[in-house]
Amino acid sequence: MLSIKRVPTVVSNYQEGCGRNCLGKCCLLGAKFPRYTYRGEKGRKYVENDGLSDRTGEMSLFDTLLMGEWEDRMSRGLFRYDVTACETKVIPGKYGFIAQLNEGRHLKKRPTEFRVDRVLQPFDPSKFNFTRVGQEEVLFRFEEDTGSEDHHAIQFFLNPHVSASASPSVIAINVSPIEYGHVLLIPRIFDCLPQKMDKQSLLLALHMAAEAANPFFRVGYNSLGAFATINHLHFQAYYFNMPFPVEKVPTRRLSGKSKNGVEVHELLNYPVRGLVFQGGDTLQNICNQVSLCCIYLQENNVPFNLLISDSGKRVFLFPQCYAEKQALGGVSQELLETQVNPAVWEISGHMVLKRKQDYEDASEEYAWKLLAEVSLSQERFEEVKSSVMEAAFGDSDDTLAIEASEETESMCLLKEVAANGVPGMASDEKGCLVHQ
């Protein structure tokens, strides 16, 4: 019998290790993981990636590695259930909401361990976080190429010593997957950052989407209060070879473009009000605008979900209010009983249902009703929208004038903000400070 070659995981030399072979400093000494590095290009040339690499029409290297490692973990029995055995259907109707019957997922999922009314909460090492997962759950490290390595070089990286400068970001399996290939991207895992969006991490997530070069590999983010269950910075991603309903709805472009070519659209005819960012010459551009918006929302305690779609070319932002509504008793009992917590995947139109009856009865009307509860009201959304646009682009009416004439002060300020982060925010890199 041929066994698949694995990179050996060396057991810690530290006696006081927890013995679990986790990702904490106690166990990590000498552990080896494959490491995928991408080239963080200053100016990314436009590459039409419609699911294939532009030249060869092949599956990307990233996809091959991720799916291969995931399949390996499947055969090792690391998942709580076989997600491909869960029945899935497209709900008849105009939108094509997707429903999955998954009775096992929520029974065994880790319950939420913190308050739902604050978007920013400090990292608490006593609560569950990703340094506690077993090393076998990590698929590979995903980081920017820092030196002279070739693009796409995959190395088996020897990590003899956890140093402050080498802060690995990892891709790990989600043991309660929604779909095949469901993984978690954990930026700078040892920095123990709380679930809080920052520009650098968003850029990492965008690069992951771009490296996959697969429009069916989406990356999602849930803030606290928008159904993140773990307060340790992470993104989720999985493969699903169909468009999500939210990706298909018409949009209306707002105001003018920013100087970097990033367009902002508003969703039309969709139960959850949201914004779509697209365009821009580089991932950095779209990252700048989106992160400014997220930071604004965080600072103002508005929970939100983010969907990175189309290999990083389109980003959806959904401010939401469901958790608070739920806590205040504002959600109908009927909806509550289906126990669907509308996080980014549900909002995008992919719903996991726990009870067979709900699955059988699932209708477009139900999906619409549920998601409509999630959405901010029209008035509130307009408020949030204009504040967020101001934070990211400056006053929309001015943008046209800016484009036509020379740079104004506001553009200079925007540039500075984009480069250095929002003033007053710089401190939280260690993830331990409280933001009120």
Binding site: M1, L2, I4, K5, P34, Y46, E48, D50, G51, L52, G57, E58, M59, D63, T64, L65, L66, M67, G68, E71, D72, S75, T84, A85, C86, E87, K89, V90, H152, A153, I154, Q155, F156, E179, Y180, G181, P215, F216, Y239, F240, N241, M242, P243, E247, K248, P250, R252, R253, L254, S255, L268, N269, P271, Q278, D281, D310, R314, W368, Q378, D397
Partner: protein, 439 residues
């Protein structure tokens, strides 16, 4: 050093066989005159083959080459996305991709790019070509009608189109343009006229870039648009593009009837609509599955465990390259043709046993190529389930034990597993009326 040469040779051989497949794509379905006849047609169009890896263009009309500025060699074998560019609307791209996946037609306004990088607005009309006997999609025809400058400036964005279904329309491939009306949800007044915003949002770029800044100041969006006057402008704009729409439809009809005619001469008729009501399971590899599987370079086959003797229903190019067989040789046959005189019968029995219990497993078995040479096959087998959660196919991925590492760091075993994963992802969204066999 030798390693590199060997890898390059294999790549070239694969490329060569790829080119042959492209050349034969038309020839195998239509009579030999087809290329000449298509060459004489004045319309701008492309023909693509979804059964070939990468869904390549296999024919480009002269009109198309002229419009786009590319030469034939630069276009044949490539995927249609090369004509898209930075300002091509992403949703439109998604809609086209979906139409291909769902094997139906679509007519949509689209921004394409010529070879010199200049953008051009076109009416893009795509239509599948179905084989009459088994209902499979064997080609797609894509027509491009350039939109006149006048129309494009005043034209509304018009991204909100109802896709065309070849089955539903009264005349084959006729299509309707309709606008999404905000009929659900509580949208405010501004949003009630989405077409207005789209109108000006999307063409502002052309206005500012193209011309006549002074002239078009009145078309720039202001804070509170007057619904009435702008609505009228949109109506006019829609009319302006009617001509191009009609041209596109007429072109599709003409090309399809040409293909139908020349396919009849071969005894393998095609038509613009799926005619067959009976789909033997063997042909349930849809276009979209074909396209997804075509991206996987490793050697693998899909076998159907519900048909007698578990035949191969899909074979990757990698499999054909590894074993030396042609697709025609292998489809419909059980994998045992790979066994030979020195193949261990115990291993064969083990494979059969494992498959009967629907397990994932791997074995090492001696296999033989078409030319009689043998190789040690690290065979990895796993069931692939479709959307209903039931097993739809078996994936069997082959790995030549002596295969070389490519220089990107992935081991051959990891590539093999990656291929299996990719197949599972592809099969997962097959919404076939599944078999009754439970896991």
């Amino acid at each position: 050093m030798e390693l590199r040469i060997l890898i390059r040779k294999r790549k070239m051989a694969a490329q060569l066989s790829n080119n042959q497949q492209i050349d034969q794509s038309l020839g195998s379905r239509y009579s030999t005159w087809i290329t000449e006849v298509l060459d004489e047609m004045p319309e701008n169009f492309l023909i693509t083959d979804p059964c070939l890896s990468g869904h390549p263009i296999i024919f480009a009309s002269r009109g198309f080459l002229k419009m786009s500025g590319y030469s034939r060699e630069e276009v044949i074998g490539k995927n249609g996305r090369i004509f898209q560019g930075p300002d091509t609307d992403r949703r439109s791209v998604l809609e086209i991709r979906e139409a291909i996946r769902e094997e139906r037609g679509i007519q949509i306004k689209l921004l394409n790019y010529r070879k010199d990088g200049t953008p051009i607005w076109i009416v893009f009309h795509l239509s599948p070509v179905f084989s009459e006997d088994d209902g499979r999609v064997i080609h797609f025809v894509a027509v491009q009608v350039p939109i006149s400058r006048k129309a494009s400036i005043s034209q509304s964005g018009f991204r909100n189109l109802e896709p065309v279904s070849g089955l539903d329309s009264t005349a084959p491939n006729s299509c309707t343009w309709s606008r999404h009306s905000p009929d659900v949800g509580n949208l405010d007044v501004k949003a009630d006229c989405p077409k207005l915003e789209i109108c000006f949002g999307s063409c502002r770029r052309e206005i500012l870039k193209d011309s006549v800044r002074g002239l078009n100041k009145s078309l720039l969006p202001d804070a509170s648009p007057e619904p009435d006057s702008r609505e009228l402008q949109c109506e006019d704009a829609c009319e302006d593009i009617n001509l191009e729409k009609k041209k596109a439809t007429a072109a599709i009809d003409s090309i399809l009837s040409t293909l139908a005619h020349y396919s009849k001469l071969m005894g393998k008729s095609v038509c613009g609509r799926r005619c067959s009501s009976v789909h033997p399971r063997l042909t349930r590899i849809t276009s979209s599955l074909n396209i997804s599987l075509g991206r996987i370079k490793q050697s693998f086959v899909l076998t159907d465990p519900y048909l007698p003797d578990m035949p191969i229903v899909y074979a990757s190019d990698g499999f054909l390259n590894l074993t030396g067989y042609s697709r025609h040789d292998v489809l419909g046959r059980n994998c045992r043709f790979l066994h030979g005189p020195d193949t261990d019968p115990d291993t064969v029995a083990q494979i059969q046993e494992n498959m009967q219990s629907w397990k994932t497993f791997h074995v090492r078995i001696l296999n033989y190529r078409k030319d009689g040479s043998s190789f040690w096959n690290c065979l990895h087998v796993s069931p692939a389930r479709n959307a209903s959660g039931k097993i739809a196919f078996y994936v069997e991925a082959q790995l030549d034990e002596s295969s070389l590492n490519e220089d990107d760091g992935l081991t051959p075993e990891m590539r093999q597993l990656g291929a299996i994963g990719a197949v599972k992802v592809a099969v997962r969204t097959l919404f076939d009326a599944g078999p009754s066999k439970s896991s």
